[in-house]
Amino acid sequence: MKQQYIDVYADNRDLIKANSAPCLNIIRDAAAEAFKITGFPTHKDEAYLYCPTLQYLATDYGLNLKQIEPKVSEKELFHCSVPGINSVVVAMVNDQMRAISETLPDGVVVCSLKDACERYPEEVENCFNSLASKHADAMTHFNNMLAQNGFFVYVKKNTQLEQPLQIVRMLDATIEMMTVAHNLVYVADNAQAKLLLCDHNRKGSKVFHDTLTEVVVAPHARLELYELESTSETTISHSQLFVTQAEGSEMLLNQLTLSNGITHRHTVVDLDGDHANLWLGGMVLNDRQQKTENYTEINHNASYCNCKELFKYILDEEAEGAFSGRIIVGDGTKQTEAYQTNRNLCLTNTAKMHAKPQLEIYADDVKCGHGATTGQLDETALFYMQARGIGKEEARMLLMLAFVADVIDKITVEPLRDRLRMMTEKRLRGEGVKCNNCSLC
């Protein structure tokens, strides 16, 4: 399986390099060598035990090595929007940045990684590959070998950004295609930002979407990152997200999967500074043959850090969900508080759920707990509602909405929260997650 990618790289090395961000070229050869040795992970690797995307790597995908821009009209690019959100929308097609809806607020930079290498070499150098190299595994090497571009978000020192930044990634391909992107987010000291990443695909596009995102949250900065996937069953998404949080920083990371094909999310957060705070959560609504895995790893490397993790899954029909959560409390850390919760609903006999909530603790000054449940809706609650004249289906709907509500409630951007409630309801009613009048997805 790995050979086809090694060959592609060997044959097109110069072409890839000519059309890539310079910083990516620096690490490319070493990554290719490393990938040659490791190959792809298998289900025997503990972190990839249930990984649903691996088998799809065998397909012979096309790669847009020349970075040719697919034809998408401006109107289409900005079609996906949330009413009243008033966000700055940045449109991307696959791994290429295409357009920005309005001028960026002061203190904020959003551009392609390639441009960033020219305009902000210092910032890029500081952050780039610092996390990926630390947590590198076979999939990281693979990404580093083939990635050509990605987005770069930089929020300058002391910038308090109220308006959310929204990056809409449109996956578009006429043939079976693989896109490989490497993104960088840097929130500097004492800055604040809300970043919304929306993944969509053009109907019928068959895309294997491999992304690697590095996020650096500097001392006393605050970042809210929402990852929202509403693609279709032809999309296979394998993403790696590496975050480091410095002293006194705060982060809210919410990963919402409304509809998708096959998704694997690999999230690693390092709490590297004292008094860092993290809320990491997500919800997954899957039916048909959709599969979603969230692998999360939170490393407590400093003292007085606090993390809360909450993942909720609703699985219908033949869907398969997996959650592997690891919280690692390092030796010598003090006064750590870490809690992990995973709750799942399986609605049919054919839906499958794999849960692995794990704690690894090497210090004694900790308060840690985790809980996981898998079950069905509360019969008595259903009966209560039916007794009050609410139909069974409606009652089920209400209970399911309530089930995922605590994940949605964590969203601080109100229009987005309302929108997600509506989309979740539509999704649970089986009406799909098309935004109004959307011609794309």
């Binding site: 503990e46 030796d331 010598g332 799942n344 399986c346 609605l347 049919t348 006999n349 054919t350 839906a351 499958k352 759920m353 794999h354 849960a355 692995k356 909530p357 794990q358 704690l359 690894e360 603790i361 090497y362 210090a363 004694d364 000054d365 900790v366 308060k367 840690c368 707990g369 985790h370 809980g371 996981a372 449940t373 898998t374 079950g375 069905q376």
Partner: protein, 487 residues
Amino acid sequence: MAEDKINNTKSDDIIADVTSGDYKYGFTTDIETEVIPIGLNEEVVRLISAKKEEPEWLLEFRLKAFRHWQTLKMPKWAHLNIPEIDYQAISYYAAPRKNAPKSLDEVDPELLKTFDKLGIPLEEQKALSGMAVDAVMDSVSVKTTFRETLAEKGIIFCSISEAVKSYPDLVKQYLGSVVSYADNFFAALNCAVFSDGSFVYIPKGVRCPMELSTYFRINAGKTGQFERTLIVADDDSYVSYLEGCTAPQRDENQLHAAIVEIVVMNNAEVKYSTVQNWYPGDKEGKGGIYNFVTKRALCKGDNSKVSWTQVETGSAITWKYPSCVLKGDNSIGEFYSVAVTNNYQQADTGTKMIHIGKNTRSRIVSKGISAGKSENSYRGLVKVMPGAENARNFSQCDSLLLNDHCGAHTFPYMDIQNPTAVVEHEATTSKINEDQLFYCNQRGISTEDAVGLIVNGYAREVINKLPMEFAVEAQKLLSVSLEGSVG
């Protein structure tokens, strides 16, 4: 403030005491042992089989397992740091020479002394506690008591090699039916070279009148012990089986790869209790037993029940998951465990509950206590198959940390394939509660006693599940392993 400081230093001292306790059961008995040369190949497997005068089918079983074992690699997924094991440097058979004594007089006096030191004088056991003890030293059963009493009820309790000769049909039917030779690396190894162990058969409708107990002892240096236990509980029967062990102190690492198989038929119940206190290695982590055991119970019949209770305080490395396959409708699986690790000990232990039948229930209570520089992991699987309607599981895993250099880890796995299943898991990790210590201090209980109280209280839920005699021993072991001068 000053008071606080004193208390702090005091509790530091206690924890130092707690973590420096020496192994109290270290001694070696001088008995002539027959050992075959080190190394493992087909010849050795044939030799073991020949020495035990086994029938052809058993030799075939061993050879099939051995050939499969040769294709396997040692698994690496556990949260354990295992030094490379040279399987060719181990002798696979050791037996006390004076075989099968007819009465107590024939038993080697040295051996009797050993049992006295361990606190189980056979005569007293016979007279006072009413237990039948199948004492296993190294690999061959030396002495079985109370056989006659059990025989009256039709209960078979003998060494497995004897069972092969006397009840070949029963053994043939059930041997390898729960843990197949291809199950895992160590199961394959055991199937190939197993030396001896116990066989229990409880006939239909019989309630075993006494606790059945085996005392394992590893006694000869450089010998691996490959025990094999097979328990079959026929319809409507009940048995409580105890297994306990202490091993002599020595420097060489010893490998122990046992298999325990339990078959439970309709309405039957088996309770299996273990107190494990093998030599854990010295304070620098040198030596100690490697305890890699495959234990599995099959609830074959409807309304059957299996209960595993274990207190694990010994061994340098413990790696085992006593499991329940809940195949019969309404069957119940239980797992209660206390695992204590100290100094450089490592433990990766837990359970597997496989729900296959309808209305099956399982309950897991695991308490880990880590001290010194040890690593203590809980790893458990709860699997609900598509046909297991109304399966119910509750798991609780708590970890207690006694200082800041040890590790406590929890790795639960849940595979759910049925919408009616209700599976819950909860876990907490914390150090000894300062408030509780303070509360005890205030009421005149010294910090020393308070630590003892809290640890024993913490493990109480599990220890209560043990039969009386074992509960006492388990508490002693907790004291020895953890409390040092405290207990």
